[in-house]
Symmetry: C2
Subunit: 185 residues, 2 copies
DNA sequence: ACTAGTCGAGACCGATGGTACCGTCAAGAT
DNA sequence: ATCTTGACGGTACCATCGGTCTCGACTAGT
């Protein structure tokens, strides 16, 4: 077994693929393998050297972007922290491009097991962040259901599209959940 | 302009197509046009005489089945009615076959605008039923957010698969939502 | 120099959603 | 009774998509 020989993988290629995928998602264009490879100036085989399936590519592209938003600075109260986090999340997720992206992610995850695994990991990470905020103020309360209520409303509204996902909705929901958690503690 | 001539449409064909689609969904097999047409002993063209796209077929098939569950008999209190309805909904939706069906529905809706329209109509109908239960006891409260919390948790958990959707979860959620509505009224 | 392994590019494959066309069949119009 | 209209089952066909295979070019370690 040799250590390693041959040409090394090009990180620039990986970055270009992810950038192409995010661009297509943001523009609402159909995210096909050919489109990604073409826009990234990359061979399709190169994509499969880095990811096991198309869904995995798309999900990693979006996960990378989504992780950036996570205001965890404390405002001095459970209510304040919760409102800040949920409102910021709703505001970001409610933009048309972002909502379209999230819908695309679910669409991929429902058809590709690799993508489903990445989506599960991504959502687990987001729930964990919210859970940490709650735990900071109410360490002994069972927050699983409350956390699912927050992200449930978010995803449900984005997928169905019957109600708005914006700052106001986030604040209202945060206040409701905070009161619910207070009552349960 | 003549009134109408020619052979009439065969409702048996429509029923056979819907039955084939539901069967495939329930069995977890890939729901392709060819599979539907083959199992229903029907030409593909006949499917397109009744529906505009594949997604619309699948959604109508599932909508038909889902509408059947709707216990609206009153138990004597908001808490009781809510618990009965939500628990029954969670129990039904949490079965593996049904959950797979719901995931399939979303998958279709995300790729087909006709299917999306049917899904929007279907979910609106379900929300309306829950809304009516709440309105019976608290006619003046704004229940939109509470309703979305219930169905949000349901869909979110089914799509991500990180937590169970069963009778116990439904009861816990119903109790929480009932308390929240009481506090808001 | 040699070798192994990545690179972009494109041909290729199987499956899928959807359309076109066929001969057949049923029912209202004449 | 015959004609006309349009749905029927079946099948060939098309474009597109995810994914695989192959190719010559390139590059870094042996």
């Amino acid at each position: 077994m040799r250590a390693h020989t041959g040409r090394r993988r090009n990180d620039a290629a990986k970055a270009a693929i992810l950038a192409a995928a995010t661009d297509l998602l943001a523009e609402g264009q159909p995210v096909t393998l050919g489109a990604i490879a073409g826009r990234a100036q990359v061979g399709k085989q190169t994509i499969y050297r880095w990811w096991p399936s198309k869904g995995a590519v798309v999900l990693e592209a979006m996960t990378e972007r989504a992780r950036s938003l996570a205001p965890t600075a404390s405002t001095g109260s459970l209510e304040g922290d919760l409102e800040a986090f949920v409102a910021a999340t709703f505001t970001a997720a409610g933009t048309p491009e972002y909502a379209a992206t999230l819908r695309g992610i679910v669409s991929e995850a429902l058809r590709d097991e690799h993508a489903a695994a990445v989506l599960a990991e991504f959502t687990a990470d987001r729930r964990e962040q919210l859970y940490l905020i709650i735990e900071r103020w109410l360490p002994d309360v069972d927050a699983d259901l409350a956390v699912d209520q927050v992200y449930g409303v978010l995803w449900y509204r984005i997928l169905i599209g019957h109600a708005t996902v914006d700052d106001a909705a986030g604040r209202q929901l945060a206040a409701t959940i905070a009161a619910q958690l207070r009552a349960a503690s």
